[in-house]
């Protein structure tokens, strides 16, 4: 066993003596001990345990109410039953709610990242005086319990005619999400490689071009992580959309699920179907953008 490892390393050393730096040695990928398999097993078991509630949603979404009443939530459905899903889809006008949630979450994600980047540029790169205290002030948006905002913002938005308007919700969440973004990005940009900025300023770039030509491309991986987080967090918000979007046509997916849940005519399998439809969009979104996560939350990509 040990000889094969030696062989592999030796081969690697012979075949790629120069290219060693970018291409890492592959010998360790093939050497799997009993302990490694045990760790993999533990990791998979943890994953299964975490996923149990999702299996429950899945099996109960395709179960008829009669089947559910007879056998409870734990058994597989006897027949595939789609009425729960169709029922929910039509009763809440799901495409409309989906669009509302998608519109609000995307606009928030993009605007909040933009605000975070501008803030962090001044704080992390510009090193504005008293930046620790400014970060703290901005983080207030994150610290404040949301119910504090409801009364004052209700009056404010009512007086400017933005009550029951999706832009009210968008503005609120841009501020709340960008607080986290500013804190994280300012911490990361504080360690931005100085040499790159020096080189750019020798080329005569001003601050605005430096932000968009140098800082932005290098921090892009971190920014895309923020886009993912902001989108999902905003999508899942409940209290503020519930308060500020009173008309049915402007509601978001979670609010419409909760409203239907209070309806006594709802059977459990329709609820389950609504849960499945409610989490699918964020799941798909996460899976699509997951690959950007591996490229890192920091500007550390630069060596």
């Amino acid at each position: 066993m040990s000889s094969t490892i030696l062989d592999d390393t030796a081969k690697a050393a012979v075949t790629a003596p120069v290219a060693r730096q970018p291409k890492k040695r592959r010998s360790s990928t093939t050497r799997k001990t009993f302990g490694d398999w045990m760790i993999l097993l533990v990791a998979i078991l943890i994953g299964l345990l975490i996923a149990v509630p999702f299996f429950l949603i899945l099996i109960n979404s395709f179960k008829s109410p009669a089947d559910y009443n007879a056998a409870g939530p734990l058994t597989l459905p006897t027949d595939l039953y789609f009425d729960g899903m169709v029922n929910f889809w039509q009763r809440v006008d799901f495409p409309e709610k989906l669009w509302n949630s998608f519109f609000i979450s995307s606009v928030v994600a993009i605007l909040a990242v933009l605000v975070s980047l501008l803030n962090a540029f001044a704080l992390g790169i510009g090193r504005v005086r008293g930046r620790t205290w400014i970060v703290l002030l901005i983080l207030l948006a994150n610290m404040l319990p949301q119910e504090v905002l409801l009364y004052p913002l209700y009056f404010m938005f009512k007086s400017v005619g933005l009550y029951d308007n999706q832009w009210a919700v968008i503005i609120i969440f841009v501020v709340i999400q960008s607080a986290f973004g500013t804190y994280l990005l300012a911490s990361v940009l504080g360690t931005f490689p100085k040499e790159i900025l020096e080189a750019a300023s020798l080329d005569g770039a001003n601050k605005w071009t430096m932000l968009w030509r140098v800082v932005y491309p290098i921090t892009k991986p971190t920014l895309s992580v923020l886009v993912i987080f902001f989108f999902i967090w905003t999508w899942n918000e409940f209290l503020i959309p519930l308060t500020f979007l009173v008309s049915n046509a402007s509601q978001t997916v979670p609010v419409s699920i909760a409203v239907l849940q209070g309806d006594r005519l709802m059977d459990v399998t329709t609820t389950s179907a609504s849960a499945l439809l409610g989490l699918l969009p964020t799941l798909i979104f996460f899976l699509i953008f997951q690959r950007t996560l591996t490229r890192g939350i920091t500007a550390g990509a630069v060596k």
Partner: protein
């Protein structure tokens, strides 16, 4: 640079004038003051959406306000009432349980799992398996709170709930109970749920941070005979320290102001066994219509959160400075 010269530097700088290392932006030749313009949009929005409501809220703490007639000034009455309010103090001691469940356990477990996925599973079994497992761990984070509450209800409810059925099935039927309805088990149940919800967040952030670790550092340590735990402590933890700070602080804030799960799962009950400050404030605001008192609870909570954050940020800045000087 030697230690002595670092210690001397501030004095020299003050005398010499033009060289002030700590007060310079990272872009050579540009004054930090000129960067203020970039803060204008963010701070303007912040003032409108956060600062104004906060100040209004602080004003309300000195009033009796029921939401209909204009607020009536009562001085410190609300604050005196708060100091003697046992429900308020119970809600804060429950916050400590929330910190254990949302900060301590997820951060520690998240560190170990992230390192395990990145370092062992990712390297030995391939990145695909590692990202698949990461996505699985992250699942509860993408679940809307309302949906999570529905599913958890199925699992924990007394009749035909999944957990009780499983316990019955393995012959432990005696342990079955009304998990969220029993004062003894309600808080521990909520804690387990919050660990489940939170775990994915540190894992995703830490795994991303680990990309920065130079694999050769590990190889060198391995050659020196350091085992996995030693490498984990010496290399992993020290390199991803900024992220550990960010995760710990943001999770602590989230734990102190946790609201959604309590609102949807227990409503603070049974009795006050799962009440938390944010929920208590909410119930005073909107159920009892005691807006002045609700504002007082919320303001007290904000003060606690702000104090914790100040301590945290100052410690982080201090550590960063030490790192830079080294």
């Amino acid at each position: 640079m030697t230690k002595a010269s670092v210690a001397d530097a501030p004095v020299v700088a003050r005398k010499a004038g033009p060289r002030l290392p700590a007060r310079q932006s990272l872009i050579p030749g540009s004054n930090p003051r000129t960067f203020w313009i970039y803060l204008v949009p963010g701070l303007a929005l912040l003032t409108l959406i956060i600062v104004v409501p906060l100040i209004w809220n602080i004003y309300l703490t000195f009033t009796d306000y029921r939401g209909i007639r204009p607020p009536e000034w009562v001085g410190l009455e609300n604050w005196v009432k708060l100091a003697g309010d046992t429900t308020f103090w119970t809600s804060f001691s429950n916050s400590i349980a929330m910190i254990v469940a949302m900060v301590v356990v997820p951060t520690l477990l998240g560190l170990v799992l992230a390192a395990m996925l990145f370092d062992l599973i990712g390297k030995k079994f391939g990145g695909k398996i590692a990202s698949f497992l990461r996505a699985t761990y992250y699942l509860p984070q993408i679940l809307p709170g309302v949906v999570a509450a529905i599913v958890i209800g199925w699992i924990l409810r007394p009749q035909n709930g999944a957990l009780n059925q499983v316990l019955d099935g393995v012959g432990l039927g005696g342990l079955a109970q009304n998990w969220l309805g029993n004062p003894a088990t309600a808080l521990p149940s909520i804690m387990v749920i919050m660990i489940w919800v939170q775990l994915g967040y540190p894992i995703v952030i830490f795994m991303a941070a680990l990309q920065r670790v130079d694999p050769e550092l590990y190889e060198a340590a391995e050659l020196d005979g350091a085992n996995w735990i030693q490498r984990f402590r010496a290399i992993t933890v020290s390199i991803i320290r900024p992220e550990i700070f960010v995760v710990t602080l943001t999770c602590t804030i989230a734990a102190l102001k946790v609201f959604g799960p309590i609102y949807t799962l227990t409503g603070g009950g049974p009795g006050t066994s799962t009440i938390v400050p944010a929920y208590y404030a909410y119930s005073e605001f909107f159920q009892s219509q005691q807006v002045g008192y609700g504002a007082t609870i919320a303001t007290a909570l904000t003060i606690v959160i702000a104090a914790v954050s100040v301590v945290f940020l100052l410690a982080q800045t201090k550590l960063e400075r030490q790192e830079e000087e080294r």
